[in-house]
Symmetry: C2
Subunit: 378 residues, 2 copies
Amino acid sequence: MLKKRLFTPGPTSVPEEVLLEMATPIMHHRTDEFIKIASEVLENLKYVFQTKNDVFIIASSGTGAMEASVVNLLSKGDKVVVISGGKFGERFKEIATAYQLEVIPIEPEWGKKLAPETVKDVLTKNKGVKAVFGTLCETSTGTHFDIKSIGEIVSQFEETVFVVDTISALGAVPCLTDEWKIDVVVTGSQKALMLPPGLSFISVSEKAWKKVEKSDLPKYYFDLKKYKKTLAKSDFPFTIPVSLVVGLKKSLEIIKSTGIEKIWEEHHKRAEATRQAAIAAGLKLFSESPSDAVTAILLPEGVEGDKLVKILRTKYGISVAGGQDKLKGKIIRISHLGWQDEFDVITAICAVGIGLKEMGIEIDIEKGISVARKYLFG
Amino acid sequence: MLKKRLFTPGPTSVPEEVLLEMATPIMHHRTDEFIKIASEVLENLKYVFQTKNDVFIIASSGTGAMEASVVNLLSKGDKVVVISGGKFGERFKEIATAYQLEVIPIEPEWGKKLAPETVKDVLTKNKGVKAVFGTLCETSTGTHFDIKSIGEIVSQFEETVFVVDTISALGAVPCLTDEWKIDVVVTGSQKALMLPPGLSFISVSEKAWKKVEKSDLPKYYFDLKKYKKTLAKSDFPFTIPVSLVVGLKKSLEIIKSTGIEKIWEEHHKRAEATRQAAIAAGLKLFSESPSDAVTAILLPEGVEGDKLVKILRTKYGISVAGGQDKLKGKIIRISHLGWQDEFDVITAICAVGIGLKEMGIEIDIEKGISVARKYLFG
């Protein structure tokens, strides 16, 4: 009888009506019925991406779409800039390195801000950079990057495209793809899109498509030219996970009927309430530029973070994420993504207080809950 | 009120209990609860693969696992043999070519048998071939290849590994991975495993793993070394489609409790009944070596196959597949994969007769049905 609640930054909870939609009989992917659904999904994705560009759906985790951005945009020996302020920024470096590209890293300390001008300096000093890779929300540290300002800068460099990993952020925080001049946006299904994992998405601007046409890196499954060929017919080059697409239709309907601005606002409210509560309770935030998608809370000295995560999960059914790599054991991360409401915030804060108390750490959780309650409900 | 029935060779029908299992609340992939499920799934996959080798799960369509076999086993400039007797054999050629490997094709005419000795001749004449790629059931033509004999031949060549695409066949027809000396077996979720599309699988022998360790082709998402690192903990390098894995647990339970030999036998019965019925009704089989996974029926001269497929689908809710590429319009393909029984065979045969009749083609469908009924029910 343990009720389970997901506060992990992916997978996130999926609305019951989406789960049930996916439990309807399997369709063949080349029937009129499915093509109609796919066509609606492809259109509604543009709304969530805030773009007029094509959005492609790939059957893979988000990392697959990250790799697709690298292998489709670049050519052998190309020079790229990777902004890496955490584990997922690192991943872009690793992928680019696997394809033997020349990587110029910009590496703000984990949890720290990046001054957008840094990107301008690097692009000015290093001629011929073909792409800049950034992250909207660095999930490992809960850090928001000023993608809007960086987009403005990159757009001034004619031969450089801007690629943004928005895996844990798209649909949760504003990402105005076209307005912010982001050429390629990459995301995944198991975050704010309120679906199980299994689909990734990538939007490609005209400027970026010119690079796709010239790219000579080897690829097959992730070759976007194949996806482009079938896109006009709302078809896919390889068998698409039909049940996930059927679920996506439903979740995009929920998002669209709510309105994306309203959804961003709700994520902001949940995140802000969590931040205020944590501080009021005597805890510290890890990031100096916290994202509204996920809040990273620095644990008091001496607290074993992994133990706290375990207590909350096994005893209370509450899944939060611990720290990764160099942050292992030092932080916990509470996601605000997707299918959550204000009461879930109160639950999460309450649970953290209970867990810490069991570990012998007293924080002022009453004050934390009170602050959140007032902020959320007035 | 149109009841829909899938006779397409993927996606196939998914049992209701598997659909509902996937509609239970989403789990995080790094919880004890999920790891226990993954561990059971990984073990039961070995049973279905009939192997002691590791089986890896990838979030992709079957083509992703095909690409994984190429990029993990081979190195720059390697020479490979591809047996290609249809659209999916072609795909291995395309992937190998995308990575600039030297491809020696063996190309039996579509629908024709391949004498295993041909492979021996080619390997003897061409020294230094690193891998032979084959297909257990060529879905585009409904053709079964004698993988057992080819496996015996390839195993005699020390530096050559044998890779088999069993995407539309594994779990439907015998595939004795270890006994037949197949080094790498590739398959997908949406066929005999009775799941929606979204997962692919690849098993790797020790002989093949040595090649993986030396491979220098660029890769990241499909890099099996990353999957190997997390396998012992039943974990995955990238977020796995948790709901599909939860469904897979259920479908593998069904397969295991039925017994794989029994399931092969049932597929054979359904396929044989379909073949006998088609012939009795006056139709011809396309393949001279028909697979028990899917039956390709040659349509009478002048019949537009795509029109027949459309009539059956829109008017009767029956999805069969048409022909692809050079077989477009000329054949229909009826799958026997997965969640089907004897009555489904009668339904499929009956539907073909009705569809053809509507198109003005009279076949002796009474005789077809009668032959099938007697064969199936005695």
